[in-house]
Symmetry: C2
Subunit: 396 residues, 2 copies
């Protein structure tokens, strides 16, 4: 067996303005480099309690079961779904992008009968359609939908949906991967039952954990299961006993350094204050979109439903979009995202999430986009997009 020659780790410095990870604050990087406690150390159990309290604050919930799943955002999605779904259960899934599609895949693997409610990518669903489906489909176990669709930049209003679901005996499952910490997420006000997120978006923490909160109603559904949860690793009952104060039954080994990182990133979120943070996300997204209009790029998401944290914009016709992204990375060390699925090659996705949502970054990416388009003989006179953004900042 030959020993691979792996040199010192010296990655280039990037400005991360893609769909995630977002920029990470130096305080979070420092927290992550703290020497480890054992995962059953009384001092680490205190840290787990603190993280739960912090997560309740950002989720706006009193839910006892509010934890960080030991995996990335997709593990959070799987945990939320496989715990409440049993084979044969009917689940309504709203599909308006890649992450709605992913939900349907997971529902099917859990043995659920998946009823898809399709909407055009970039649009959101009218609650009336959900109500009609609930009436039509008979007993529905859960309604699952995405609050912030990372593949289209659309933001789905959730208000009132919990009540609607409960009137029909269904649970409400919500994906807040790209909204938590950047856009209001009101778990209790929504009456949502299973809500998950990821750490590497608006929380500006490295990827590796998935915040998850379950209502008592969801926990009752878990308790009433006739079959075991298909995943041992993500079994909410066992994970709850591991996180529960006073219990701490050994289940798996929590990713200790990631918990340190999440704790520090949540401290930063709560120091800034949720309202101030949401306002900052709105402000820089609006400035960016003002600049983007000058570039001739239309937003992908429908008017009034644009997600400030993830700005999905259409590539102007005749532009080689991959070449522009390559130019941004090679010449400016800026990462932005391309399109996923049917939107591949048609959109750019610019994340202004958490630490990334700053005026200097808005100007940096607009300038680089202008230059990238200019190299293809496209776009406005250089400086127009930055000027439009600054004009917005001057007004706002």
């Amino acid at each position: 067996m030959t020993t691979p020659n792996v040199p010192e780790l010296v990655p280039p410095q990037r400005l991360l303005l893609g769909p995630g990870p977002s920029m990470v604050h130096p305080r979070v990087l420092r927290a992550m480099s703290t020497p480890l406690l054992g995962h059953l150390d009384p001092k680490f159990l205190e840290i787990m309690n603190e993280v739960q309290a912090q997560l309740r604050a950002v989720f706006c919930t009193q839910n006892r079961f509010t934890i960080a799943v030991s995996g990335t955002g997709s593990a959070g999605m799987e945990a939320a779904l496989v715990n409440v779904i049993e084979p044969g259960d009917t689940v309504l899934v709203v599909v308006g992008g890649v992450f709605g599609m992913r939900m349907t895949d997971i529902v099917a693997r859990a043995g659920g009968r998946c009823v898809k409610l399709d909407i055009p990518w970039g649009e959101t669903i009218d609650p009336g359609r959900i109500e009609d489906a609930l009436k039509k489909e008979g007993k529905v176990k859960a309604v699952a939908l995405v609050h912030a669709e990372t593949s289209t930049g659309a933001q789905q209003p959730i208000d009132g949906l919990g009540k609607l679901c409960h009137q029909h005996g269904a649970l409400l499952v919500v994906d807040t991967v790209t909204s938590l910490g950047g856009v209001p997420v009101e778990v209790d006000a929504w009456e949502a039952d299973a809500v998950y997120s990821g750490t590497q978006k608006c929380l500006s923490c490295p990827p590796g954990l998935a915040p998850l909160t379950l209502s008592d109603r969801a926990l009752e559904a878990v308790k009433a299961r006739k079959t075991k949860v298909q995943s041992w690793y993500l079994d909410a009952g066992m994970v709850a006993d591991y996180w529960a104060e006073g219990k701490r039954v050994y289940h798996h080994t929590a990713p200790i350094s990631m918990v340190y990182a999440l704790r520090e990133s949540l401290r930063i979120v709560l120091e800034e204050g949720l309202e101030a943070r949401f306002a900052r996300h709105r402000r820089h997204s609006a400035a960016f979109m003002a600049g983007v209009a000058a570039l001739g790029c239309a937003p992908q998401a429908q008017e009034g439903r644009r997600l400030p944290s993830l700005n999905c914009i259409q590539v102007p016709s005749g532009v080689d979009e991959a070449a522009v992204r390559k130019y941004l990375l090679a010449e400016h060390s800026i990462e932005i995202g391309g399109g996923l699925g049917p939107l591949a090659g048609k959109v750019w996705r610019i994340g202004l999430m958490g630490e990334s949502a700053r005026q200097e970054n808005v100007l940096a990416v607009l300038a680089a986009l202008e230059q990238g388009l200019a190299k293809q003989g496209k776009g406005p006179k250089l400086g127009a997009a930055c000027a439009a953004a600054l004009e917005y900042y001057g007004r706002a």
Copy 2:
């Protein structure tokens, strides 16, 4: 919603000599605090290639599918099992401790028919029993067993088992969570088909990733499945496309900082050299066990099958074992492990894994154990255990 008051992160410094996490080298902590690349950045893809090459070297395999699962060791166990097992498949599981038991739970959740081969906790199985079961049970999909049983400190010889399984058309699944990097793990020589580990044991990396390697035979079984893998997150086919050079199909977001940490910890492992590292683990375990004999503690694992990385010793009769562990943590800031399952209250588990396997640590924990026993009026004259260990070091 009240904002929780969470102070600066200042955990106490611990000497980690429990069943994991083990001590982490400062170079690994530093690597983890490196600013992030995006997970689809070409430079990060190079890093993924490097980690795969490093993992092949420590697993002693040429397997193309050699990756780090985005979860802790238990996620590795679940990934190894749920990818090869389909509902109705017969699986032989050797159970001689908590982690063998966990395998049976996961096999059942995957719909497998689990045939348990029980052995006393601390002992290992004779290949003849596996052969008899293979002959008796008809078509067996897989044989699953634990190389290094963390709950008992027993090390199961694996040589020849792959060939035996293949003669009967079965796959061999091996848990090397507490052996990889500390004890020889020879995936290709064993002809093992699915082998997984954790990062927080002999690799001395924080928990959060699970090294996993699949043979081509295992991949064929995955490809030949009639049903989808029950877990979307752990689906080996999708994960393979994410890790495959030249493909890199977006699946989930890898925990980037943890990959940095694993890369650095594997650099340290390979700089030391596997043979030297194994010898170091044997040496310090032997010295520790010499000291432990002076304390009047017998090893839990049978003679000739003792795992050097995890030393499971019986608590002398009449000793309040929890009080001793509490004393070690409070007065010496040393973490050791208690017993799990039927061994709770009966054994201590002292991990001398990776960076933890050092003479100073052996002496530190022996001295503290002597003092802890003395507080209960037990144990030898103070200094006897350390003297016995030093006597061993002098001889060895």
